[in-house]
Symmetry: C2
Subunit: 483 residues, 2 copies
């Protein structure tokens, strides 16, 4: 049987380069129904295309896709990719390998182990353990499973029904994945206790300790405290030393969700912001966020060796045979909830080999300097108003207040208007393809922008000024009534 | 700040082609410690390399990696990739996009929806729902969460502690991911009730019904029956019509783990083997297995719309804002347990566009014909002994019995020797780089080989004969005592 397709790979690099070059738009936004209409034929998959028509279809798909590699893509906590990481991703895809056993992934297994070792050391953990997971939310599941398994090893066997009442503690600014995890794993979201944060977004240590005491008094077991190093919106880093001291005092598993802020560990200058993270029982870090490893690249780390295997092993006979001819302790797959698992560590290895600790140190410092420049600019630019000056990760949060809103009483109505102005500006930014910038409300704060900076593409100050300028232009174009 | 790396991408295609061409070995096996020694410098990531040295390091990594694209790689339920799928993977990586909201992934969102629609139709489900997940094990988690959420919507809020006792029912030949899922989600593995299978590996309907009745009599709620379409080892497909009838009778969620066998739906000739699958409450299918989509590409389907969103939504304010300027019903991310999520559907779209239903039909028929040829050959070849003639998926399971074992009493000792011979043959096959073939014990059966066939690379009969020949050669080289 003959098979076509092998020559199409030769076209990919050209297609990708052309469809992401500097002349392409960040986004050609179309509303869903409109886009469906434009792409009707391209979306239909029942009919076979020849390579030439396939190329046309692919180019059309890419034409209407967001160019996440542009400096103006600031919509998420990821952005462009590190080119070495992308090369690593391409190689990994071509070698189509699953990471369960040494026999099918000999080098990739060693690479995962060595990369984890290096990362553990960076985080100040000696003799720890870890695994690559398909994302921060899955890492949160790993953390809770490990905590439960450590506290109640019988949970694996008997389930949650037979265990004492448990609670999970997190801050109000933490990522929503803890709610999903609490639901999935059978804790229930009512048993997630939410601690107040201060103006900068850091969890209140006093409230944390009070909550632990209250829960204990009520006879409920606090299973895990989830501290955050880099909250999603403000980029706040909880006082990890303080949280660690409290967790140690009450014997509670301390997880640090460092999915976003974990990249600061790469910088000699900024890693002190993570002080105390070495005392965590577990840590999650997503190099696919700030660091620009292609999606997905997520690390879950534990301070104690063995917990991961005990928590997750099922000893499948067909895969993890104990009568293999090599040292099966290198079959790392039974530590995982996954069976098939991508070799995500390889992408990180590529980047680290190409840049070294020193190159990654520079990239981290640079992104923090750009964010610092942005925050200083915003602080001094008229019509911009910072949500907080206290920058911890490279997040800069602010409102744009159009001139017509100046010198008015800042009452509830004024804030409600501001709340509507932010998405309106975003709409204009998007429709004009000038920038994609995230916005969000937060607690009592009305919709504001979040500019989050990532390693790639490497930004210059001029890029920051361009984005702020675009926001200003769109903001000044807003007229009342807003909606 | 200047940044290197962009030229490395130009080298990737060349490196990949050279390191996987027909002259490269399937595997140059080294034991873990030995390999660590050989790659010592390559594994160390603290030091920065220039592009030239990086290329050398990459080539060395690939030299010792398994070439999963070779016809002789038959070690897992995946193999070589579809070249169009690989092209899709490369484009997806280059476009580094997360699949949560329409605004960042407009076309990829539509592609996921359309591909899911097409797949749902193939499986005979109208107006269903679905999502791409990072693998079959995560899909199993989705299934159980959906089942629990449908039966007890309050689980999300209150957790498993407040619910009645539940059991999950599966066959003894089903995949181990259900055990991991039962543990993770708080059911406990003791509450997984295991049903006997027949000689071909199919779940006994009588035992299934008896078990449901017993559990109900004991006051426990059977939450889900997990049927399998393509067991891991034998490739058995449970009698889905029968299982469906029982599940309907007792009002139990029917999940079909069709991760392996689901690809048969692509063939007009063979899809009848999945008869009844349209009656399932949920289905998991991994196109990254038989079909050769690059890892990962896993689909989770549900017959009822809405369940997925109800079960999993957390309505994060910063991501799923309801005041966006477009129709936010296209923001599909809140149906997922993941936050960041790869655009895996795009790879499948590429393949489908390039081959059409018709091309995929041919590839499915071909793989089944090759497996049929293999089973017929094994059946008639001396010293080979089939585990079962009843082929359902393209799995062929057999022992190789070296000549010196012939004409002996097949007592316990004989079988124990056979049990040791199989891994010994595998060792030789691997060390000589002749083939990688899975082996496994199963229930009372001693270690046997499993040859599983996949779409890619497209095999000819000669490939099958070569593999059998290699097994024979290695088998005849075995001498007593085996260990």
């Amino acid at each position: 049987m003959e098979l076509n397709g092998h020559t199409f790979l030769d076209k990919v690099l050209g297609i990708v380069k052309e469809e992401t070059d500097h002349e392409t738009a960040l986004i050609q936004f179309k509303h869903p129904k409109e886009l469906e209409e434009i792409l009707r034929e391209n979306l239909d998959i029942s009919k076979k295309l020849n390579d030439q028509d396939l190329e046309k279809a692919v180019r059309k798909v890419l034409q209407y896709s967001v160019k996440t590699n542009k400096p103006t893509f600031r919509n998420q906590l990821y952005g462009g990719t590190d080119p070495y990481g992308l090369a690593g991703a391409w190689i990994a895809e071509a070698f189509n390998t699953s990471q369960y056993t040494f026999e099918v992934a000999p080098v990739f297994t060693l690479i995962e182990l060595k990369v984890l070792d290096h990362i553990l050391k960076l985080f100040g953990i000696s003799d720890g353990d870890g695994i690559f997971s398909p994302g921060g939310s899955i890492s949160m599941l790993y953390a809770l499973v490990a905590a439960a398994s450590k506290a109640f090893p019988e949970v694996k066997r008997i389930g949650m029904g037979g265990l004492p009442e448990m609670v999970i503690v997190t801050s109000e600014d933490s990522h929503y994945s803890i709610l999903k995890a609490a639901h999935w794993l059978g804790f229930g979201i009512e048993n997630v206790k939410v601690i107040k944060t201060n103006d900068h977004g850091q969890m209140s240590a006093t409230d944390l300790e009070n909550t632990l005491q209250q829960e204990l008094a009520l006879g409920r077991t606090p299973l895990m405290v989830n501290a955050t190093a880099g909250t999603t919106v403000l980029g706040a880093i909880d006082d990890l030393e303080n949280v660690a001291a409290i967790c140690e005092k009450y014997g509670v598993w301390m997880h640090v969700d460092a999915c976003w802020g974990g990249s600061l560990i790469l910088s000699k200058k900024y890693r002190s912001k993570l002080k105390g993270i070495n005392r965590a029982s577990s840590i999650s870090w997503n190099p696919h966020k700030m660091m620009g490893v292609p999606l997905q690249c997520s690390v879950f780390l534990l301070r104690e060796k063995g917990v991961l295997h005990e928590a997750n092993s099922a000893a499948a006979q067909y895969l993890f045979q104990q009568d293999k001819f090599y040292d099966v302790s290198y079959d790392t797959g039974d530590k995982s909830i996954q069976c098939g698992r991508k070799i995500d560590a390889f992408k990180l290895w590529m980047i680290w080999k190409a840049r070294g600790d020193i190159g990654l140190n520079h990239l981290t410092d640079h992104v923090m300097e750009i964010a610092e420049f942005c925050i200083q600019t915003v602080a001094h630019r008229s019509n911009f108003r910072l949500v907080t000056m206290h920058m911890q990760c490279p997040n800069v949060c602010f409102w744009y207040i159009p001139t017509f809103m100046n010198n008015k009483m800042e009452n509830e109505e004024w804030w409600n208007t501001t709340h509507k102005i932010t998405p309106k500006i975003k709409e204009q930014l998007t429709l004009r393809s000038q920038a994609m910038v995230a916005y969000s409300p937060l607690r009592e704060r009305k919709n504001f922008f979040r500019l989050a900076f990532t390693f790639h593409p490497v930004l210059e100050k001029s890029h920051v000024l361009d984005i702020l300028q675009a926001i200003e232009e769109c903001g000044e174009g807003i007229t009342l009534p807003v909606l």
